[in-house]
C-alpha cells in the first residue's frame, strides 16, 4: 500500500484507535512530522515482528521517499483547496478539516475536530441529511447535490456537496469524505435575476391592467346595473303586493350578479398581486377559464367573441397561475389589436388547449387579424420591438421569459386563412418540473 505513512512504531501504538486518528489537513505539519499523518489510512492489525523487520531496506526507503513526495503534493492540493474538504465518521464526528473548511464555516481546525457534522446542518436540511446518511450506511452511492450549511456566525450558506465513502479493508463504510463548494454567490445572483424577472412581469401586468381599466369598468357596470335594477324592481314588486316568488327570483339574480362582479374584481386583484411567483400544480384549463371574465370584457369592447376549445384530458402542469394568465391576457390583447388593425368583419379569438405530444400541454390563441409580416416575424420576441405607436415592445418579450421560466416553449405561426396563432407549451411531467 503506497500511501501507508504512519510510522511502524506509531502504528503499533494506534492499532486499536486508528479510526480516531486526527488528520491535519488545514495546518499540515512540516515534512518532518508529516510522517505521522495520513490521508487515507487503511487499518490493519499488524502482527508483532522482530526489531530487524523494522529497519527498512534500500528499496523500501526509495519507495517511501517517492510515496512521501506524492503525498505532499496531494496534501497541498487538499490543504490549499478553496473548497471545504472534511472527513467524518459514519456517526458524523469530524476527523479532518482543511483550510477551505475553516474559511467557509468559520470554525478553526481545532474547534471542528471535536464537533459533530450535525452542527453544520440547518434544521430544514436535517431530514435530507438523515436520508443521505442512511444511503451511505447502506453502501449506496450518493450523487453530488445542492444543500444548505450553517456557519459559525449563524449564516446559512448554499453548498454543492460531493461525497466519497471511505471503506475499511472488509469493504464496509468506515468514514465519509466530503467536498463542499460555497455556491451562495451564484444562488444569490440567480435569486436576483429571478426577482427582477418577477418584478418586470409584475410591472407589465400592472401596466396592462391599467390599459384594461375602461373595459373592466364596463364589465363591472353590467352586474352593478343588473343588481341595481333588480333591487329596485323587487321593491316595486313588494309595494305592489306581487307574488313573493317573483321577488325571490329578483333576489337570486342579484346574488348571481354579485358573484359575477366578484369574479371580475378577483381576476383583476390577481393580476395586480405582488410579484412573488407561487408555483403549484395547475389544471391548465382552469387557468384559461380563470381569465374568461376579463377576456370577454376586452372582447366586448372591440365587438369580438372569445371562443374556447379546451381538451379536458390534459394532465396537470406546474407553474404560477397569475403569470400564465398574464401571458394569455397579453396574447388576447395582441389578437384584439391585430383584428382592429385589419378591420376584419369577423372578430373571433379561439383559445385552445391541446395535448401536442406525451407529457406536453399546448395552449394556443388564434385571431383573424392582420397576421405577422415576414420582416417582423423574426423580431417579435425581442424586447422593445413593437409595431404599435403607443406600444412598449415588452409584451411578447415578457411572455417569452415567463414561458422559459416554466421550462416551456413559446412560438407563433401564420394561419392559412387570416391572422396568426401564438402557442406555448408546458411540460406535464411534474417531477421534472419540480426539480
Amino acid at each position: 500500500m503506497p500511501c501507508f505513512q504512519v510510522t511502524e512504531m506509531k502504528k503499533r501504538r494506534q492499532t486499536k484507535k486508528t479510526s480516531r486518528t486526527v488528520h491535519s489537513l488545514a495546518n499540515p505539519p512540516n515534512s518532518k512530522s508529516y510522517k505521522s499523518t495520513t490521508i487515507s489510512e487503511v487499518q490493519t492489525d499488524l502482527p508483532a515482528r522482530s526489531l530487524a523487520d523494522w529497519l527498512p531496506d534500500e528499496a523500501t526507503a526509495l519507495e517511501r521517499q517517492h510515496t512521501e513526495a506524492e503525498l505532499r503534493r496531494l496534501s497541498t492540493i487538499v490543504r490549499n483547496s478553496n473548497d471545504a474538504v472534511t472527513i467524518q465518521t459514519i456517526l458524523g464526528e469530524i476527523l479532518a478539516w482543511n483550510r477551505g473548511a475553516e474559511l467557509m464555516y468559520g470554525y478553526t481546525e481545532a474547534e471542528a475536530l471535536g464537533m459533530n457534522i450535525q452542527m453544520l446542518i440547518p434544521n430544514d436540511s436535517r431530514q435530507e441529511a438523515v436520508i443521505f446518511a442512511d444511503r451511505v450506511a447502506a453502501g449506496k452511492t450518493v450523487d453530488s447535490f445542492e444543500t444548505n450549511r450553517l456557519t459559525k456566525d449563524g449564516r446559512t450558506i448554499h453548498v454543492w456537496l460531493t461525497v466519497t465513502v471511505l471503506l475499511d479493508v472488509s469493504g464496509k463504510p468506515e468514514a465519509i469524505a466530503t467536498t463542499e463548494r460555497d455556491i451562495t454567490p451564484v444562488k444569490q445572483a440567480e435569486e436576483t435575476i429571478r426577482i427582477q424577472q418577477a418584478e418586470l412581469a409584475h410591472m407589465s401586468r400592472v401596466h396592462v391592467v391599467g390599459e384594461f381599466a375602461a373595459a373592466m369598468a364596463h364589465e363591472l357596470n353590467q352586474p352593478l346595473c343588473a343588481i341595481g335594477i333588480n333591487a329596485q324592481a323587487a321593491q316595486r314588486m313588494i309595494d305592489a303586493n306581487l307574488p313573493m316568488t317573483e321577488v325571490k327570483e329578483a333576489l337570486s339574480d342579484i346574488l348571481e350578479n354579485v358573484g359575477r362582479a366578484t369574479r371580475v374584481v378577483q381576476g383583476l386583484k390577481d393580476q395586480l398581486r405582488s410579484c412573488e411567483p407561487e408555483y403549484s400544480t395547475l389544471d391548465i384549463n382552469e387557468v384559461v377559464s380563470g381569465i374568461a371574465p376579463i377576456a370577454e370584457a376586452l372582447g366586448r369592447c372591440e365587438n369580438a367573441n372569445v371562443v374556447y376549445c379546451l381538451d379536458d384530458s390534459l394532465q396537470p402542469v406546474f407553474g404560477d397561475r397569475i403569470q400564465l394568465q398574464q401571458v394569455l391576457l397579453n396574447l388576447i390583447r395582441n389578437a384584439l389589436d391585430a383584428m382592429v388593425a385589419s378591420q376584419s368583419i369577423r372578430r373571433e379569438i379561439f383559445i385552445e388547449t391541446n395535448k401536442c405530444e406525451d407529457g406536453v400541454a399546448t395552449v394556443s390563441v388564434r385571431d383573424c387579424g392582420v397576421g405577422i409580416p415576414d420582416d417582423v416575424a423574426e423580431h417579435i420576441f425581442e424586447p422593445f420591438f413593437t409595431t404599435k405607436p403607443e406600444g412598449m415592445g415588452m409584451g411578447l418579450a415578457i411572455c417569452s421569459s415567463i414561458i422559459t421560466a416554466h421550462r416551456g416553449r413559446f412560438w407563433a405561426s401564420q394561419n392559412t386563412d387570416c391572422g396568426c396563432t401564438f402557442h406555448f407549451s408546458l411540460p406535464c411531467n411534474l417531477e421534472a418540473c419540480q426539480s
Binding site: A214, A217, H218, N221, Q222, P223, L224, C225, A226, I227, G228, I229, N230, Q232, A233, R236, M237, A240, L242, E246, E249, A250, D253, E256, N257, R260, G299, R300, C301, N303, A304, N305, R347
Partner: protein
C-alpha cells in the same frame, strides 16, 4: 290605437335584460327582450307600436349599427340608448341619428322608466301624425287633376280671379272647383285648408314654428 305598445329591450347581457324586463313588467309595461341587434331585426314588424331600449356596445351588430340600419329602412321607432361607457362622441352620434335618450349604466330605475314612457309617447305621437298624414293624402288622392290645380293655387294665396286667369277659365268655374276641394278635403275654412296642405308637405309655413 288599441294595441298596447311594447318596449323592445336589446342587450347582449342576459342579466341586464332580465332585470329590465322585471322592472318594466312591475309597472305594467309590455316588454319583449332580444339578445342581439340581428335577433330584434329578424322579429320586428314596424306596424307594432313601441320603443327600443338599446345597448350601445354589443358583439356583432352594435347598437349604433342597428340605429343606422333602422334609419336606412325608414323605420322610425324611438330609441333609448344605454351604455356603460357613455362617452360623449358616441352619445352625440346617437342623438344626431335621432335617439330619444342616452342613459348611462348603472342607472336609477325611474330614469329608465321615464325614458321609456317618453319614447312611447313620442312613438304614439308620431304614429298619430302618420295616421293623420295618410288620411290627408287619402283625401288628396280623391281630388281630380283640375281640383288639385285649384287646391294648390288657393293655398298659395291666389284670388279666384287670378286663378281663373291662370287656368284660362271663368271665375265661376273656379268657385265650383274650390267648393268641391273644400268639401273633399273636409275643410271648413281657407285657413284649415292651408293647414292641411302644410301637413301634407305641399307648402311650407313662411315662419318656422321652432
Amino acid at each position: 290605437m288599441n294595441v298596447q305598445p311594447t318596449a323592445f329591450i336589446v342587450d347582449d347581457d342576459l342579466s341586464v335584460r332580465r332585470a329590465i324586463q322585471r322592472l318594466a313588467s312591475s309597472v305594467g309595461l309590455k316588454v319583449e327582450t332580444h339578445g342581439s341587434a340581428q335577433e330584434f331585426l329578424d322579429s320586428y314588424s314596424p306596424s307594432n307600436p313601441g320603443c327600443l331600449v338599446l345597448d350601445v356596445r354589443m358583439p356583432g351588430l352594435s347598437g349604433l349599427d342597428l340605429q343606422d340600419e333602422l334609419n336606412a329602412r325608414g323605420i322610425t321607432i324611438p330609441v333609448v340608448f344605454m351604455s356603460g361607457h357613455g362617452d360623449v362622441p358616441m352619445s352625440v352620434r346617437a342623438m344626431k341619428a335621432g335617439a330619444v335618450d342616452f342613459i348611462s349604466k348603472p342607472f336609477n330605475d325611474q330614469v329608465l322608466l321615464d325614458a321609456i314612457q317618453h319614447a312611447l309617447a313620442q312613438d304614439q305621437k308620431s304614429r298619430e301624425a302618420m295616421a293623420e298624414l295618410s288620411e290627408i293624402l287619402h283625401r288628396i288622392d280623391h281630388l281630380t287633376p283640375r281640383e288639385r290645380e285649384v287646391f294648390a293655387l288657393v293655398v298659395s294665396g291666389k284670388l279666384n280671379k287670378q286663378i281663373a286667369y291662370q287656368l284660362g277659365t271663368s271665375e265661376k268655374t273656379v268657385k265650383v272647383h274650390r267648393g268641391r276641394v273644400m268639401h273633399k278635403m273636409q275643410a271648413d275654412s281657407l285657413a284649415e285648408l292651408v293647414l292641411l296642405a302644410q301637413a301634407a308637405g305641399l307648402c311650407k309655413p313662411k315662419v318656422q314654428s321652432e
